[in-house]
């Protein structure tokens, strides 16, 4: 429907709603669980511990270099499941559309949701669509929930972490937030940066099945970046993490942007990266395995777990030591 816009009547439950759901949405996600369009999706019997997660996605612009809100919504939920060691089974898709939103853009977003779900080997099992009056939303909001199964055996968790473990980051920091920042163009900086948004489930589950108990704990460093996620990991594991600044992977363009604006890439959001705390002796083999995968090419050991009061510290490039604290709010361009 080129040129068509979302109308309030698309959300009012009548013919238009049916048409939108059947012809635009369900058609793309077609699968045996979703297609009957029952009030609940029936997933059959699940064997194992069930992981369950939910996340809301709001982003301007909805389509950005390297991805869009649809890919973001699917990958975010898949990654939340996989860092807990869960094999994704099904996700839901709840759309809130603003009156006037181009149907073509919606179709692009739905296509990339379906592509990401395929890549992550997960079914979009149920959904909902609401339309709100113009001005009451920012184009499109998506909420996805997901369930996954933790197979018998090892489950990465904070309590497994101990001194001597190593910290691995699966790639460069800050690409997603930098790409979105550039796309917004409010700061008028141009740079070739793509969002890293990607489904990590197969990479992480492969690592988990090869290395099992050596993988102590995993997180995906999204909002607040590596800095915030590591602080949360140190807090929940009650350990001290010391990073090696010279080993933190950052793309040159992202560094350039950060130097101009006075940002620290350690606090920029990622959408296709994972932090792994692993047994020290397995760190290098795990990095080698990660580097053989599409989304782990720049994986690196970035730090270690040491004895001491909980917190995150950094051995700086010049050999100094300092704390890496939580940031206060988002980073803003500054002159100082």
């Amino acid at each position: 429907m080129p040129g068509d816009k979302i109308l309030l009547s698309h959300g009012e439950g009548g013919k238009r709603t049916r048409e939108l759901i059947r012809k635009v949405i369900a058609k793309r996600f077609e699968n045996p669980v979703l297609s009957p369009l029952f009030d609940s999706a029936l997933l059959g019997r699940l064997d194992g511990e069930i992981a369950f997660t939910t996340d809301g996605y709001v982003i301007t612009p909805a389509i950005f270099p390297g991805g869009d809100i649809g890919r973001l919504a699917v990958c975010g939920t898949l990654n939340d499941l996989s860092v807990c060691g869960a094999r994704p089974v099904a996700i839901s898709c709840s759309l809130i559309l603003e009156e006037g939103f181009p149907v073509e853009t919606l179709e692009t977003i739905l296509d990339s949701m379906e592509a990401a779900a395929k890549e992550g080997n997960v079914t979009i099992a149920c959904g909902d669509t609401k339309v709100v009056e113009k001005g009451n939303a920012d184009g499109i909001f998506i909420t996805t929930s997901g369930i996954g199964i933790v197979n018998d055996g090892w489950r990465p968790a904070p309590e497994n972490v101990r001194p001597g473990d190593r910290v691995i980051l699966t790639g460069t920091m800050g690409d997603h937030q930098a790409a979105v920042l550039i796309a917004r163009n409010r700061l008028e900086i141009a740079a070739k940066v793509l969002s890293d948004v990607a489904p990590l489930s197969s990479m992480l589950l492969d690592i988990l099945s090869s290395f099992g108990g050596s993988v102590r704990f995993m997180r995906d460093p999204t909002r607040g970046g590596v800095g915030v996620s590591l602080n949360e990991m140190a807090e929940s594991s009650r350990v001290r993490i010391v990073l090696d600044e010279s080993r933190l992977p950052v793309a040159d363009e992202v560094r350039g942007i950060c130097e101009i604006l006075g940002f620290d890439p350690i606090y920029l959001a990622n959408e296709g990266k994972a932090l792994l705390i692993v047994d020290g002796s397995a760190a290098e083999p795990i990095v080698d395995s990660l580097r053989k995968t599409q989304y782990g090419l720049n994986a690196a050991v970035i730090g270690e777990v040491v004895k001491g009061s909980p917190g995150v510290f950094m051995k700086t490039v010049i050999g100094g030591l300092r704390a890496v604290d939580y940031p206060v709010g988002e980073q803003l361009p500054r002159i100082c």
């Binding site: 008028e188 490039v317 010049i318 030591l321 704390a323 206060v328 361009p333």
Partner: protein, 365 residues
């Protein structure tokens, strides 16, 4: 690829050598008390973990070179008053967003409907004005000599393009006389000044000659990269050892003895010297840059008839003493308790380059 002129000055091997040289040459002497005047130095020192490397050889105290920290709350109040006018856009650097006025901050007012836009350059504020002819765009002009020519440049650009809905609320300051005020204060015992990098690019390293000559304080202009800072400290220690008090320039790749003549001319065209209040320090005569009469149509204070009152706060907050280098943040009773980056009490905790924020954020327990 490495970032040229950045990564060379973060070289770990050279840094180790300078640290060794500092320790070897200083020996067992009691720590030298140095002031890094500029907030960007404060943050860089904290981020590079320099204190942990030089512990025992030097004590670094932080000076008044943080515009956010020294901007009085009356200025924030005036900005908020202006922001509440109808059809007004307050344009600001990100630095000012969380600075507390007497009752509120721009961040809080933004949630209440004041239109606050965070910009990277004062020129972007001129563009915003050009693109919003029905609105008044008021730029919050804060900073020192480094930023002054950029703000002046924006005013000149607005004048040339005849953009009448752009104005600046100026709280621009100059540094050398503030340093002299500190050097002449008997309570402030500074044995050497690490002079600001980019202020010096504008005013030139010769601007500190009176300071070295009149007060006998060693001065070294240093860049903001870790190696620049370490080398600058090394040069200050060497001066002390040989009993010298001169101006040296470690940052010769950017700052020259005479500075940037054209930038200073533009400052002199658009601004005039004024007396100005420094939060925590007091009124320092002639250290402000108010907008010159010839450009008064771009002076938000005159255009909208607002005052920027200055009162010296009497609270438990010891930001003033921190800014003067009398105490380190940890000596303030509020530090880390009633005053944290999330709930800042004083301006030194609000600014990302504030001494207290840098201590809190990067401090190693």
């Amino acid at each position: 690829m490495r970032l040229k002129y950045i990564d060379e000055f973060r070289d770990p091997e050279l840094a180790r050598r300078v640290v060794d040289a500092i320790r070897t040459s200083w020996g067992e002497r009691p720590p030298m008390r140095l002031m890094e005047v500029c907030g960007t130095h404060t943050v860089s020192i904290a981020r590079a973990g320099i204190r942990s490397l030089l512990d025992g050889a030097v004590t670094m105290v932080s000076g008044p070179g943080c515009p956010v920290c020294v901007t009085p709350d009356g200025y924030i109040d005036a900005a908020i008053t202006l922001g509440k006018r109808p059809d007004t856009i307050l344009a600001t650097f990100g630095d000012m967003l969380r600075v507390p006025g007497r009752h509120s901050s721009l961040e809080k007012e933004r949630s209440g409907g004041v239109n606050v836009r965070i910009l990277y350059s004062p020129l972007d504020a001129v563009e915003t004005a050009a693109g919003n002819p029905g609105k008044e765009v008021i730029f919050l002009g804060v900073g020192f000599e480094t930023t002054a020519p950029s703000i002046a440049g924006a005013i000149l650009s607005a004048a040339v393009r005849d953009i009448g809905n752009f104005s600046v609320l100026s709280s621009v300051r100059t540094i050398p006389r503030a340093m002299e005020a500190l050097a002449s204060d008997p309570e402030v015992r500074i044995e050497g000044f690490l002079c600001p990098a980019h202020v010096s690019a504008i005013i030139g390293s010769d601007a500190y000659l009176p300071l070295a000559e009149k007060f006998g304080v060693p001065c070294v202009v240093a860049g903001f990269e870790p190696l620049d800072i370490l080398y600058g400290i090394y040069l200050l220690l060497r001066q002390k050892i040989r009993g010298a008090a001169v101006v040296e320039n470690e940052y010769s790749r950017v700052a020259t003895p005479s500075g940037n003549r054209k930038a200073r001319e533009i400052i002199a065209t658009v601004f005039r010297e004024s007396d100005i209040g420094w939060r925590g320090i007091g009124v320092l005569p002639g250290t402000g840059l108010a907008i010159a009469d010839a450009y008064s149509e771009f002076d938000a204070q005159k255009k909208f008839g607002v005052e920027i009152p200055f009162t010296e706060d009497k609270t438990a907050c010891r930001c003033g003493d921190v800014l003067k280098g009398k105490i380190t943040p940890r000596e303030c009773p509020l530090f880390g308790n009633a005053c944290t980056p999330a709930e800042p009490y004083g301006p030194c905790m609000v600014s990302s380059e504030g001494t207290c924020a840098a201590y809190y954020k990067y401090g190693v327990q």
